[in-house]
C-alpha cells in the first residue's frame, strides 16, 4: 500500500489526542445510562465549537448529561434556569454603582463561564433569549461601555421541552439557527431503563471528577479543524443542503410543497464541521459519507421550515431529511 503521509500522520495524531474521548464517554456512561446519541452529540458540539440544543420530554437526563460533561472538564460551569420573569441582566450581568468607589462597576452574569446550561430556554421571553443568543454568536458581552470577551471554550447547551407549550416562547427560526445541533432525546431502551432503576435505587452517587483540561479541548479542536474533507464530501454536503432548498432538482418533487425554506449556508458549514468532529470521535483523519449522514439530522432538523401543507399532512422535518439522504447520490 502506498502511503498518504499527511493523512497517516493525522490519523496518528488523532489516535494520540482522542484518547480523552474514551475517558469522557466512560465518565458520562457512569452517570448516564444509554443515550449514546446524546453523548456523541455533546462531544461533537464540544469539539466543533458549536452550541447544542437538546429537546426531549422531562426526565430523560438532559440536564444531568450536560452537568456531567461540565463536571468531567476542569472548566467554569454555570446553570441558568430560564423563567418568564428572567431579565437579560440576569444572564449577561449589569453595572452596579459602588458607593465605596463612587462609580459604576460591572457585575458579570452567569454567561461568563466555559459551559452554560440554559435550562428550559423556551420559558423566558424573546428579549432574554436574544441576550443569550447574541453572546453565543459574538462570543462577547458589552456591559456599559466595556466589552468583555467570553472565556474559551464557550459552549451553550440549552434544553427545551416539547410538551407544555402554554406560557412558553418558542425560539424563532433565526435564533434556533445559531445552535449547531438540535438533538432530539428519546426514551431509553427497556434494558437501559432497568439499569437506570437499579442504579438510582442503589443510592450512593459516584463523584464526578474532572479528567480533562480546557487546554486539551482547545488542542483537540485544532486537530478537528485539520481532519481532511475531500471535495467529493464537500459536494455531497452541498447536494444535501441544496436538496432542502430545491428538492425538485434531486427528484424529490413531492417535497417541494412541504418545505417553506431550506437550509442556509450556515447549515452547510455546520454539517461540514460536525462531520469532521464525528470523524474525529471515530478516530479517523478524514471524513466519509457515513459521518455526514450520522450528523445530518441533528444539523438540519431545525433549519428546514415546514409549510402548512407539511403540517396538515403530518410530515416532519425528520422524514424530509431521511428522504433527502436516501435520494442524494453518495460519492
Amino acid at each position: 500500500m502506498a502511503e498518504a503521509i499527511d493523512i497517516r500522520e493525522l490519523n496518528e495524531r488523532i489516535e494520540r489526542h482522542s484518547a480523552f474521548v474514551t475517558n469522557l464517554v466512560t465518565g458520562m456512561n457512569q452517570q448516564i445510562i444509554g443515550q449514546k446519541h446524546l453523548i456523541e452529540s455533546l462531544l461533537i458540539g464540544l469539539l466543533s465549537d458549536g452550541h447544542v440544543l437538546l429537546e426531549g420530554v422531562p426526565g430523560l437526563a438532559k440536564t444531568k448529561a450536560i452537568k456531567t460533561l461540565a463536571s468531567l472538564i476542569d472548566a467554569q460551569f454555570s446553570r441558568i434556569q430560564f423563567t418568564p420573569d428572567l431579565l437579560p441582566a440576569d444572564i449577561i450581568g449589569t453595572m452596579i454603582y459602588s458607593q465605596q468607589d463612587g462609580k459604576f462597576v460591572s457585575k458579570k452574569g452567569p454567561v461568563f463561564a466555559n459551559f452554560v446550561l440554559a435550562d428550559e430556554i423556551n420559558r423566558a421571553p424573546a428579549k432574554v433569549q436574544s441576550a443569550l443568543l447574541e453572546a453565543m454568536q459574538e462570543r462577547q458581552v458589552t456591559l456599559g461601555n466595556e466589552t468583555f470577551l467570553l472565556p474559551k471554550p464557550f459552549l451553550v447547551l440549552a434544553t427545551q421541552n416539547p410538551i407544555e407549550q402554554e406560557g412558553t416562547y418558542p425560539l424563532p427560526e433565526a435564533q434556533v439557527d445559531r445552535f449547531m445541533l438540535k438533538v432530539i432525546i428519546d426514551y431509553p431502551k427497556l434494558e437501559e431503563e432497568k439499569l437506570i432503576i437499579r442504579q438510582n435505587i442503589a443510592g450512593g452517587k459516584s463523584e464526578v471528577r474532572p479528567i480533562l483540561r480546557t487546554q486539551d479541548i482547545t488542542e483537540a479542536r485544532e486537530i478537528v479543524r485539520q481532519v481532511y474533507l475531500d471535495e467529493k464530501i464537500e459536494q455531497y454536503i452541498a447536494d444535501i443542503v441544496f436538496a432542502t432548498r430545491y428538492p425538485e432538482k434531486y427528484g424529490l418533487k413531492e417535497l417541494k410543497d412541504y418545505i417553506s425554506f431550506g437550509g442556509s449556508p450556515r447549515a452547510s458549514i455546520n454539517l461540514a464541521l460536525a462531520s469532521r468532529a464525528y470523524a474525529f470521535i471515530k478516530r479517523r483523519g478524514y471524513v466519509i459519507p457515513e459521518d455526514v449522514r450520522a450528523v445530518a439530522h441533528d444539523v438540519l432538523r431545525h433549519r428546514i421550515g415546514l409549510s402548512y401543507e407539511a403540517e396538515a399532512s403530518n410530515v416532519t422535518s425528520e422524514e424530509i431529511i431521511s428522504k433527502i439522504l436516501n435520494s442524494v447520490e453518495v460519492p
Binding site: 502506498a2 502511503e3 498518504a4 481532511y228 475531500d230 467529493k232 478524514y286 466519509i288 457515513e290 453518495v330
Partner: protein, 356 residues
C-alpha cells in the same frame, strides 16, 4: 199502428242524420285592421271520428287584396268519447290595400263531400296622415339585415375548428416531406444487457482504457465502485447508489454469507480511503481489487436464458410511452384526415346554402 212505425222511422232517420252531421264554423279575430296588420281566421270542422277531411289550400291570396301569410297545422280534439272530432286550422291573413273585403265561405271536403262555413268580412283602413305636419313624415326605412342566427353558422364554426388540427398535421407532413424523413420514426431497440454483463463491460472498459497510475487512483476507484453500486442496485433492487459503503455491506449481509462479503468490504474500504483520504494505491492493489469485483459479480450474478437475450428487450416506461404516442399519432393522422375532408365538404355546402 202505422203512425207509430212512421214516427219511429222518422226518429231513427233524424238520429242517423244527427250522428253523421258535419258542421263547419269560421271566425276571425278582428274585423278591422290597418293596412299591413295581420289577423287570424279560425276554421273549425266538427265531424265523425275516422272521416277524411280536406281543408282549403290558399297559395297566396284568399280573395284579391287579402293575402294568406301562414297556415297552421290542423289541431284535432276528440269529442263524445272519441266518437267525433273537432279539427281546427288557423289562417294568418293581411292586406295592403284599404277597403271592405268579403271573404267567401270556406269550403271543407269531408269524405269527399263539400261543406262550407259562413262568409266573413274584413275591413282594412289606411293610416290617417296629418298633412299639416310634414316634419313628421319619415322616408322609407332601409332594408333590414337579417338577424344573426347561431344555428346558421354553428356547423361552419365547429367544422372550421376541426380544420385547425388538419392544418397542423399538414404542416408536420410538409416538414417531414421537406426533410426527407418518414412520417413515423421507427425505433429499433437494442437488447438490454443483464446487470452483471453491464458491470463486466464497465470493468473491462476501466481495465483497458488506460494504464492507471497511483495518481489516477481516485478516478479508478470511483469508476470501479460506481460500476459495483449500479450492479448491486440492478441485481438486488435496493438503491445502492444512494447508500454508503457500510450500508451496502449491511444490506448485502442479510442476503449473502458475511464471509463472502469480506473481499467486497475490503474493496469498499480501500475505495473510501482513496476517494476521501488522499490514499494512493499501487497498481497490483488495483488489479487485486478489480479481480475481487469481478469475482463478486460472478458469484452473485443471475444467469439469463440466452433465448431471452435474443428476444426484443423489455421496453422502459419512456420507450413504451414513446411507442404509444407514435401509435396514437398515426391513428390521429388517419382519423383527422377523414374528418377534415368531410369537414371541408360540409363547410362548402353550408356556405353555398347561406350565400345562394
Amino acid at each position: 199502428m202505422n203512425k207509430k212505425y212512421l214516427i219511429l222511422l222518422l226518429l231513427f232517420s233524424i238520429s242517423m242524420m244527427a250522428s253523421a252531421q258535419v258542421t263547419v264554423d269560421a271566425s276571425i279575430d278582428t274585423l278591422l285592421i290597418r293596412v299591413g296588420e295581420q289577423t287570424k281566421i279560425h276554421l273549425q270542422v266538427s265531424m265523425d271520428a275516422g272521416a277524411n277531411y280536406d281543408f282549403p289550400q290558399f297559395k297566396d291570396t284568399i280573395v284579391a287584396g287579402v293575402e294568406c301569410l301562414e297556415v297552421s297545422e290542423p289541431s284535432v280534439t276528440e269529442l263524445n268519447d272519441g266518437k267525433r272530432i273537432l279539427v281546427s286550422k288557423d289562417y294568418l291573413v293581411t292586406s295592403f290595400d284599404s277597403g271592405h273585403y268579403f271573404l267567401p265561405p270556406l269550403e271543407v271536403l269531408v269524405d269527399q263531400k263539400p261543406y262550407v262555413s259562413k262568409s266573413l268580412s274584413l275591413k282594412v283602413f289606411s293610416v290617417d296622415v296629418d298633412v299639416t305636419k310634414p316634419n313628421e313624415f319619415f322616408g322609407p326605412k332601409d332594408v333590414m339585415d337579417a338577424p344573426f342566427e347561431w344555428e346558421d353558422w354553428a356547423l361552419i364554426f365547429w367544422l372550421s375548428i376541426l380544420l385547425i388540427p388538419m392544418i397542423g398535421l399538414c404542416a408536420y407532413l410538409v416538414i417531414r416531406f421537406r426533410d426527407n424523413k418518414p412520417i413515423i420514426r421507427h425505433i429499433k431497440l437494442a437488447p438490454k444487457l443483464p446487470p452483471h454483463q453491464k458491470a463486466m463491460n464497465e470493468i473491462q472498459a476501466i481495465k483497458s482504457e488506460k494504464r492507471w497510475t497511483p495518481e489516477d487512483s481516485k478516478e479508478y476507484y470511483t469508476r470501479l465502485t460506481d460500476a459495483l453500486r449500479n450492479y448491486i442496485k440492478d441485481r438486488y433492487g435496493f438503491n445502492a447508489t444512494e447508500m454508503t459503503s457500510s450500508e451496502i455491506i449491511e444490506h448485502l449481509t442479510s442476503e449473502k454469507d458475511e464471509k463472502a462479503l469480506d473481499e467486497l468490504r475490503q474493496l469498499f474500504q480501500t475505495a473510501d480511503l482513496v476517494k476521501f483520504a488522499k490514499y494512493y494505491t499501487q497498481i497490483n492493489e488495483n488489479d487485486m481489487n478489480l479481480v475481487n469485483a469481478v469475482e463478486f459479480i460472478n458469484q452473485t450474478k443471475v444467469e439469463v436464458d440466452p433465448a431471452e437475450l435474443n428476444k426484443e428487450q423489455e421496453m422502459t416506461v419512456e420507450e413504451k410511452r414513446s411507442r404509444a404516442v407514435k401509435f396514437s399519432l398515426l391513428a390521429g393522422i388517419i382519423i383527422l384526415s377523414i374528418l377534415s375532408v368531410v369537414a371541408i365538404g360540409c363547410i362548402g355546402k353550408e356556405i353555398y346554402e347561406l350565400c345562394f
